[in-house]
């Protein structure tokens, strides 16, 4: 697997561009599922909704499950069926986005939920992760990045930024209460490898460089990120208020 668009892309807005080593054309690194990936979009801005629909239609790997503009319609659609990927605009009115993410992740635990947001700061992204999202896409992503990120997600990876990595490190440092953290080291809740990955990401080192440093594949690195997100979401769901206050979220 030679250099591809995914190698040096920690950012969720990766653009197809030649890397140092080679200039291979953009192609997804991972194997495609046999059938088309069913995607549902919840977006209240009609222009952006159309934009997303067009982006998905342009790619043969995706099929549009539903495109709705409010949370109520989304719930109705989810009752009738289960898409593979749910895209939710975090900017839905009345915090409808976050609530929808929470409900959907509970009712459809195996569905990939990605939030579409303008800002990827702590409040937006980590809040969404805790509610059950598995990744995020910046709203101003170019079409190629947009679909690439969804495919990366389906393949098992999650997008992350240095800031988010730093925040995750400090969150997990606060740790669960003593009776649970007996045999955990500095970052109770995180495995040492996961802590290492987060630390490297926080320093701005790209996925490819991390993979080289740790002598693993880049896919492994992004999978670690997905697992870390899941842990955060589990924490938040399982012992909701108490854990959140312990980790300094409240």
């Amino acid at each position: 697997m030679t250099g591809s668009t995914m190698q040096d892309v920690p950012s969720p807005r990766a653009a197809p561009a030649p890397v140092r080593a080679s200039s291979a054309p953009a192609s997804p690194q991972v194997a495609l599922p046999q059938r088309r990936v069913r995607v549902m979009i919840v977006e209240d801005d009609p222009a952006f909704l159309n934009h997303c629909v067009r982006m998905l239609a342009a790619d043969d790997d995706f099929a549009l499950f539903a495109a709705v503009s409010d949370a109520a319609s989304a719930r109705q659609a989810l009752c009738r069926g289960a898409p593979d990927v749910l895209l939710v605009d975090l900017g839905l009115p009345d915090a409808g986005g976050i609530d929808l993410v929470r409900e959907a992740s509970r009712s459809h635990p195996h569905m990939d939920i990605m939030v579409v947001t303008v800002f990827d700061d702590e409040r937006h992204v980590l809040g969404a992760i805790e509610a059950g999202a598995t990744g995020y896409i910046l709203k101003d992503s170019v079409p190629d990045e947009f679909v690439a990120l969804i495919k990366q997600m389906r393949a098992g990876g999650s997008p992350i930024s240095p800031t988010i990595a730093r925040r995750l490190l400090s969150r997990f440092k606060a740790g669960p209460p003593s009776d649970l953290a007996k045999d955990h080291a500095v970052h109770p809740g995180l495995s040492p490898r996961e802590a290492e990955v987060l630390t490297l990401i926080a320093k701005g080192i790209s996925f490819g460089e991390i993979a080289r440093l740790l002598t693993v594949s880049q896919h492994t690195v992004t999978t670690h990120v997905k697992k870390i997100y899941q842990k955060l979401s589990v924490h938040s769901r399982g012992e909701a208020v108490y854990e959140a206050s312990r980790m300094g979220l409240l």
Binding site: T163, I201, G204
Partner: protein
């Protein structure tokens, strides 16, 4: 018969060396020598008060006592009387032995008198003892029982009587004077409590009354002394009544005018009584005074029943003792052997009331002291509270100022950063120089810049590496789109003290400006970002190097000026080294 009676009395009483004679023969006579037995002596019981036995009579009177001695004595004998008014001359068996009492300046007090008898004058068997009493006008004669016996024994008795009848009351008088003055002084300090002043007045008036008993004056002046003395007594009673009223808590009342009327009337009525006008009121005015002493006692007893404290009970009891002695003493009439009681009753009352009043005074002193201390403590507490409040207000003001400063910083940065970006994009769009894709890119750059500003709001601690990492993350997209290859060699950098959000933003903006310059002007293929620590280990170096066309040294744009300005603000140095083969921008940050 009288003789026999007298002898019998003598024999009955005269068993030991001291004989007490409670009867004698009496003859009113001006004779300078003992009148003979045939003169018409009448028996008279002793004590004899002329005011009772022969009112209105004054002049000379003779008393005769028959003594019987077993043998002629070897030691001196003496005659002792407890009370005698005014002068007495003693004759034994016809011989003049001695005189007692003042001649012309009588004293109101009734002193005991002792006259010594040389033993040579006494014979075995019957002896005649004569006593010539001079009763001056306005001074009714008084003679108590006559004691006759061994001089040393009688002297002892005399001393005892002197102590109780004369010295004691004198001491009480002095004590009353001192107490009165003391109470008046206290009363001056406690103007809201008039009982001090009234009791002091009562004590002083009583001191004057007692003192009058021991004053010897010329015959004419003694009327004045009497008037003053009785007025003093009346004043002491009035003051005592007012004390009782105030002590029990009664306020001034119209009816108190009665007291002042009584006091005002006293001198006139006493004068009338003295000069012998004979009005019934004048003669009995003294009795009225004596009755009046019961008033304060009753008032205090009533007050004690009301308040039921031990203190009030003691005060009431002592005042009752005074009233009791005043009322009862006259019944026993003066010339008895018993000492006067009322001075001692007054002494007790003065001690009790004085003690109570002084204790009350001390208590109020202590209370006011305590109050002052509490007040001072309260003031100190309030002051501390005030200081704390001031501190809090200060703190709040400081925090508000900090918030304001931060807001200003953000606004400035947004103006400098995204504001400038949007403006330049707008101008490009307006001049029609951009394709749609280029406009989209420019707007994306604006969003990235906004995200960069938001990133810099979070405190970075003192670690620069994540800050640089985040910068890379934000700029990478742009670099990739323009086909620029990025070499990122940022290693672990040592902690930098004082890396506030402001400073982080300045570093980011400096580096962003450097990288943007490369993007826009350098026409480069590669850009390298490195971090290192300089040799002196006191500075962190960040290098941005490209392999482009460089720029001419004189061509310094506004961007470079901004970079230098920001570097200066954070205390860093910046070096820009252009060369035909590329440009190097080196930023040196002091570690501390």
């Amino acid at each position: 018969m009288a003789w026999a009676f007298a002898i019998f009395a003598t024999v009955a009483n005269g068993a030991g060396p001291v004989a007490r004679h409670e009867a004698a023969d009496f003859l009113l006579s001006d004779s300078p020598l003992p009148p003979p037995a045939t003169s018409g002596w009448q028996p008279a019981p002793l004590p004899d008060d002329w005011e009772v036995s022969r009112p209105g009579v004054h002049g000379f009177g003779w008393y005769r006592v028959r003594l019987s001695l077993a043998e002629s004595p070897e030691h001196p004998y003496a005659v002792l009387v407890s009370a005698l008014r005014t002068t007495g001359s003693v004759y034994v068996n016809g011989t003049y032995v001695g005189r007692s009492g003042p001649l012309d300046s009588p004293e109101r007090a009734l002193r005991p008198q002792l006259v010594a008898i040389p033993p040579s004058l006494l014979r075995e068997g019957a002896n005649d003892l004569y006593l010539r009493l001079h009763a001056m006008p306005r001074w009714p004669g008084v003679l108590s029982a006559i004691r006759f016996g061994d001089e040393s024994e009688l002297r002892r008795e005399y001393e005892r009587q002197l102590l109780w009848r004369v010295t004691g009351p004198q001491m009480v008088g002095v004590f009353s004077l001192a107490l009165g003055l003391g109470m008046l002084a206290l009363g001056r300090q406690r103007r809201s409590e008039p009982e001090y002043g009234w009791f002091g007045t009562a004590a002083l008036a009583f001191a004057a009354f007692v003192g009058s008993f021991f004053v010897r004056t010329a015959p004419g002046v003694d009327v004045v002394v009497s008037v003053l003395a009785e007025t003093g007594l009346a004043l002491s009673i009035v003051a005592l009544i007012l004390f009782a009223l105030r002590y029990a808590g009664w306020r001034r009342h119209r009816s108190e005018a009665i007291l002042w009327a009584y006091l005002a009337a006293t001198p006139f009525l006493v004068y009338l009584g003295e000069v012998g006008d004979g009005t019934w009121i004048a003669d009995n005015w003294r009795s009225a005074s004596q009755l009046a002493t019961s008033v304060p006692a009753l008032l205090l007893v009533a007050g004690a029943f009301r308040r039921k404290t031990a203190r009030d009970a003691m005060v009431a009891a002592s005042a009752s003792a005074v009233a009791f002695t005043s009322l009862v003493e006259p019944l026993f009439r003066l010339p008895s052997d018993l000492p006067p009681w009322s001075p001692y009753a007054w002494l007790v009352m003065e001690l009790v009331v004085g003690g109570v009043l002084v204790a009350s005074f001390v208590r109020s002193l202590n209370a006011s002291e305590r109050l002052n201390i509490e007040l001072a403590a309260s003031v100190a507490r309030k002051r501390a509270e005030l200081a704390l409040n001031h501190q809090r207000v200060h703190e709040m003001e400081r925090r508000q100022a900090a918030v304001l400063e931060e807001r200003n910083r953000i606004m400035r940065d947004m103006h400098d950063g995204i504001g400038a970006q949007l403006v330049s994009t707008l101008s490009l769009v307006q001049h029609g120089g951009l394709s749609t894709g280029e406009v989209a890119d420019a707007l994306r750059d604006c969003l990235d810049d906004l995200r960069l500003t938001i990133d810099s709001l979070e405190p970075a601690g003192d670690d620069l590496a994540p800050v640089l990492g985040n910068l890379r993350h934000r700029l990478e997209g742009r670099l990739r789109r323009s086909g620029l290859a990025l070499e990122w060699n940022v290693a672990d950098v040592p902690p930098i003290a004082g890396l506030s959000p402001q400073n982080v933003l300045h570093v980011l903006r400096i580096l962003q400006e450097a990288i943007t310059n490369v993007l826009k002007h350098a026409n480069a293929r590669t850009i390298r970002v490195e971090s290192a620590v300089d040799e002196s280990a006191r500075r962190v170096l960040i290098r941005v190097e490209d392999d482009g066309v460089g720029f001419r040294p004189g061509h310094a744009g506004r961007g470079l000026a901004n970079m230098r300005r920001r570097a200066q603000l954070i205390g860093a140095t910046i070096e820009i080294v252009p060369s035909p083969r590329g440009t190097l921008v080196r930023l040196a940050l002091p570690i501390d």
